[in-house]
Every structure is written in structure tokens, then in C-alpha cells.
């Protein structure tokens, strides 16, 4: 049976320079599709990927990922914006890892593109008016 899941992978700083996804594909025969990547040298990295493969391979691959120290989070959470609560200040924009929150110029209105959101949740606590909410 083939399994296909969308995951958010958080890479600690020490792992950023290692070819982890490459090994995953080569050693466990797992296909990966990178939906979103934010990896810079000497920084933590976040990858949103769709992994698919035969079930036993998929499970072994997942174990390998966990062993390396990569934090795995299913992309089953959804971040939504309460339009009434948003005060359009823009403080979230520089924190958004997926580029989902952006400022429209010249009105300076803050837009939220849900399709770009990787559910990292950084905006949730940092939003002064608590307009960003997690839905499960």
C-alpha cells in the first residue's frame, strides 16, 4: 500500500548542511515533493514536504528522520485569520516563515495567503490582537 503525507520538517541548526532528504529517497525509496523550503546556513531550517512511498518504506523512512533529530509535524493544523480581529499592523509579516503574510502597498493592508501558510504558528502568539488562530 502506498502512503502519502504532507509534513512540516524542522531542521535544527546542526542538521541544515546534511543531505537528509536525499538519503530518505535513496535508502528508503520515498518520493518527496518540496512544497516550501526555508533553509539558510547556520540557521534553523523548515521544510514543508509531501512524502510518498510504500507503507513499510514510509514508516522506516519516518524513523530515520526522527533519529536524525529532525522534528516532524503533520500539516494537519490550519492557521486561519479572524478578519475582524486583524488590525493590519504588519508585525507578523517579518516573522512569517512561509511568506503567507504580506503587506499590500501603498495601502499597507496586511494580506494572508492561506495557500502559502506552512502552519509554523509563529504568527499566532506574536500577533498583538490575536487574530491568527490554529484550527485542527
Amino acid at each position: 500500500m502506498t502512503v502519502s503525507k504532507r509534513l512540516v520538517l524542522h531542521f535544527p541548526r546542526k542538521l541544515v548542511d546534511q543531505p537528509i532528504l536525499c538519503r530518505l529517497a535513496r535508502d528508503y525509496n520515498i518520493d518527496f515533493n518540496i512544497l516550501k523550503a526555508s533553509v539558510t546556513p547556520n540557521e534553523e531550517g523548515v521544510l514543508v514536504v509531501e512524502l510518498s512511498g510504500e507503507e513499510s518504506n514510509y514508516n522506516k523512512g519516518n524513523e530515520y528522520l526522527a533519529q536524525t533529530g529532525v522534528a516532524i509535524q503533520p500539516l494537519s493544523k490550519d492557521v486561519v485569520r479572524d478578519e475582524e480581529k486583524c488590525i493590519h499592523c504588519g508585525s507578523c509579516v517579518v516573522l512569517c516563515t512561509g511568506g503567507a503574510l504580506s503587506v499590500e502597498r501603498p495601502t499597507m493592508k496586511v494580506n494572508f495567503d492561506h495557500t502559502k501558510c506552512i502552519a509554523c504558528e509563529i504568527c499566532v502568539r506574536s500577533c498583538p490582537s490575536r487574530a491568527m488562530e490554529i484550527r485542527f
Partner: protein, 401 residues
């Protein structure tokens, strides 16, 4: 030219006043020149919507039977402590107060989800608020305890009185350290990860009247979605701050104390906000009309973001240690572009003050004036100006003998 406020009010009454926002006036002056624009335009409306910690409300709760002297006792509204050191049933609800059991920064960075600013928003939204108070008994005020619900519509007075709002310019915050810091200027990522600023620039009230020629004690304003007044100069008012040739301060300068009846305000314009790792506060909407009494006043209102500068300050070391160093100055036009260069690095910018909402405030005030619902007032006293020798003083420790 020159006009008087009485003449402008006459035009407002007749529905003939020409009212434009501080954004619109820029284009008008560019197209027609100051002389012509000053003849045509009667009022320029401004706006700002940002977190303003020095905010709060005086509430008169009404007297219970038997009577209770909450004054001098202890009281909370939705578990948020209020100041009771005044008369029997008057309290002051401050924007940054928080419940005694809020963990603060014990779980760093603290979340500060609900504080005085949120109680003010809930009051204005018409929600019931839990009042709990304890005190000592007296012959005339025997009752010692109360737990009840109150509602804004049932209490006597609710007066928003903010000792310091509408700062004329503000620091631009960055973080030079190697860890994320949580400040009143928002989350600042390490190693110059982001730049945060907080004014509405060319729309901001005091940038449009840099020498306080029209804004003074008694000026009628848009406050929290209703009507308010400038009641005094704000705390830390510092007219002596460094200024550009156009008169606009390049540092934090003037401030306003404002007052108004909370019962006619709107929760959309008084929003309880939480700064992660710092505390809770109130985001306040203020709009001030500037009567075009002279060409000079009009020319000040035409100030553009590119002509307004603010200092870049490191909030990991320089600000907390009250050191004087700045990392440079940039204009609000650069800040609003989304990125600026600091120490040779291109850094993304974010605002805590909402320009988008500030525009709505300036437009709302314009609409009120156009409909004849809002007339201008003459200031009854001036704010301290550049010649008055008012400076911002630090607090230097002195040993207690």
C-alpha cells in the same frame, strides 16, 4: 487667507468646507502649490492607530446598598486589578494591568493574553464584566465585599483618560544580539533579523502640526471611534527633540494626553493587544483635524513619509541600558517599502502601528466633518513648544541615607 476656526466652522455648517486627509493634501500641494491649496482647503484630517500603553479609564461604579468604600480597598475587573486610591466608588483601569495570577515572563516569553486593555475593549463592546472588591468597613461605608457583574451602560461615568498617546515620532527597533528578543516593539529576531517601527508617518497627527500651532489643550478629536479632546500635553512631552529643517522631529518628541466618554467609543478602535514577552496594552485610534489657518500650517500638513526620519536603535543592549547610540536614521518612506539597509545588511521592516487603519480614521473624521457632525474647537492653551525649555529627564538613582 488667513482663515479663522469660526469661518471654517461656518463652512462646515453650510456643508461647504473642503476637507482632505493628510495623505490627500500631499498631492494637492504638489499639483497646486501651497498658496492655492491653502486657500482651497479648510481642514486636513490625520490618523494613528497603534499600541499606546499610557492609556486607561476612570470608572464610577455606582453605590451599593449598604455602601462600600472600594476606594482604599482592592478591586479587580475580570481579575485585572484596578487602581482604587481615589474616592469610594471611583477606580482607574490601566491598559497594562494584568491579573495577579498571570505568569508574566515565568514561562518566557510570556503570552500576556488578557490585561487592562482587553477589559477596556470588552467594556466598550458592551460585555458584562466581573467586579470583585474587598475593603475595610467604616461607619458610613460598612460593606466589605462584593462580587457582581457590571456593564458599561449601567455604571455612572466611564472616562477614557490616556496620559500619553500619539507620540510625535518613535524609535525604530532592531536586535544586534544572537538571540531573539521580545520587546514592546514586537518580536525582534537575532542578528538584525527584522526592523520594527511604530508611527503612521505622514498621517500621524503631530507630524502634521510639528510646532503645535493648532493642536492644543481643548482640541476636539476622534478618539477610540468617538469624540474626545486633547486634555493636556502628554507625559514625556519633549518639544526640544532634534528636528529637521522642515520642523519635523527626528526623535520621539511631543505627546498628547487625551480624554473622552468611553460610552460613545467603539471596540474596533480600542483594541486590547498583547506583546509576547512584554505585556498587554491598548491599541488606540486617534484622529486630529488640523484647521488650515495659514499657508504655513498647510505647508506642514503636506509633509511626506520621505521627509520624516527616525533613529534606528538596538533593543538588545542600547535601549535597555539607556545608552545614547543610534545605528543611523531612515525615512518612513524607506521603512514602508518593506526593507531598509542597516549596517550594510538588507533587513525586512514591520510596523506595530497600522497605516491601513490610520487611513480609515483620517477618512472617518473627514466624513464626520463633511456631514456637519463634527465642528472644530479653538485650543484654550498651547502645548509647550520648542522655546519653552521642556526636556525629557532621566531618573538617576540617589542613595537613601
Amino acid at each position: 487667507m488667513p482663515k479663522t476656526i469660526a469661518e471654517i466652522n461656518e463652512n462646515i455648517r453650510k456643508g461647504k468646507a473642503v476637507v482632505v486627509t493628510a495623505e490627500e493634501v500631499i498631492g494637492i500641494v504638489e499639483k497646486k502649490g501651497v498658496e492655492k491649496a491653502a486657500k482651497e482647503v479648510d481642514v486636513v484630517t490625520t490618523g494613528t492607530f497603534g499600541p499606546m500603553c499610557s492609556s486607561g479609564a476612570f470608572l464610577n461604579l455606582g453605590h451599593t446598598a449598604p455602601r462600600m468604600k472600594i476606594g482604599g480597598g482592592k478591586a479587580t475587573l475580570n481579575d485585572v486589578p484596578v487602581y482604587t486610591g481615589i474616592a469610594a466608588v471611583d477606580v482607574y483601569l490601566g491598559a497594562t494591568a494584568m491579573p495577579d495570577d498571570d505568569p508574566r515572563n515565568k514561562n518566557y516569553p510570556g503570552s500576556f493574553d488578557y490585561g487592562g486593555g482587553h477589559v477596556i475593549e470588552d467594556l466598550v463592546a458592551g460585555k458584562d464584566i466581573k467586579l470583585v472588591a474587598t475593603t475595610y468597613g467604616t461607619d458610613c461605608y460598612p460593606r466589605k465585599k462584593i462580587e457582581t457583574l457590571i456593564n458599561l451602560k449601567d455604571i455612572n461615568e466611564a472616562t477614557l483618560f490616556n496620559p500619553r498617546n500619539a507620540y510625535q515620532n518613535y524609535n525604530i527597533a532592531v536586535n544586534l544580539s544572537d538571540k531573539t528578543i521580545y520587546t514592546y516593539m514586537g518580536v525582534l529576531k537575532r542578528n538584525l533579523g527584522n526592523v520594527n517601527y511604530s508611527t503612521s508617518g505622514q498621517l500621524s497627527p503631530l507630524f502634521n502640526d510639528p510646532y503645535y500651532l493648532t493642536i492644543g489643550v481643548g482640541t476636539k478629536i476622534f478618539l477610540g471611534g468617538g469624540i474626545g479632546y486633547v486634555s493636556w500635553y502628554g507625559t514625556q512631552h519633549n518639544p526640544s527633540a532634534l528636528r529637521s529643517d522642515n520642523g519635523v522631529p527626528r526623535r520621539g518628541a511631543g505627546t498628547l494626553a487625551v480624554i473622552g466618554d468611553l460610552k460613545q467609543m467603539k471596540p474596533e478602535w480600542l483594541v486590547g493587544t498583547s506583546m509576547v514577552g512584554y505585556g498587554s496594552t491598548l491599541t488606540v485610534g486617534i484622529g486630529i483635524p488640523i484647521p488650515v489657518l495659514s499657508e504655513e500650517i498647510l505647508s506642514y500638513t503636506a509633509v511626506k513619509d520621505e521627509d520624516i526620519f527616525a533613529p534606528i536603535i538596538d533593543y538588545s543592549e542600547v535601549y535597555p541600558q539607556r545608552k545614547p547610540d543610534i545605528l543611523g536614521e531612515v525615512s518612513y518612506a524607506e521603512l514602508k517599502s518593506g526593507k531598509i539597509e542597516v549596517m550594510g545588511k538588507e533587513v525586512p521592516t514591520a510596523s506595530l502601528s497600522s497605516y491601513y487603519k490610520a487611513t480609515q480614521i483620517a477618512n472617518t473624521l473627514k466624513e464626520w466633518i463633511n456631514k456637519g457632525d463634527f465642528q472644530l474647537t479653538e485650543a484654550v492653551a498651547s502645548l509647550p513648544g520648542t522655546e519653552d525649555g521642556v526636556n525629557l529627564k532621566p531618573l538617576n538613582d540617589r542613595p537613601i541615607e
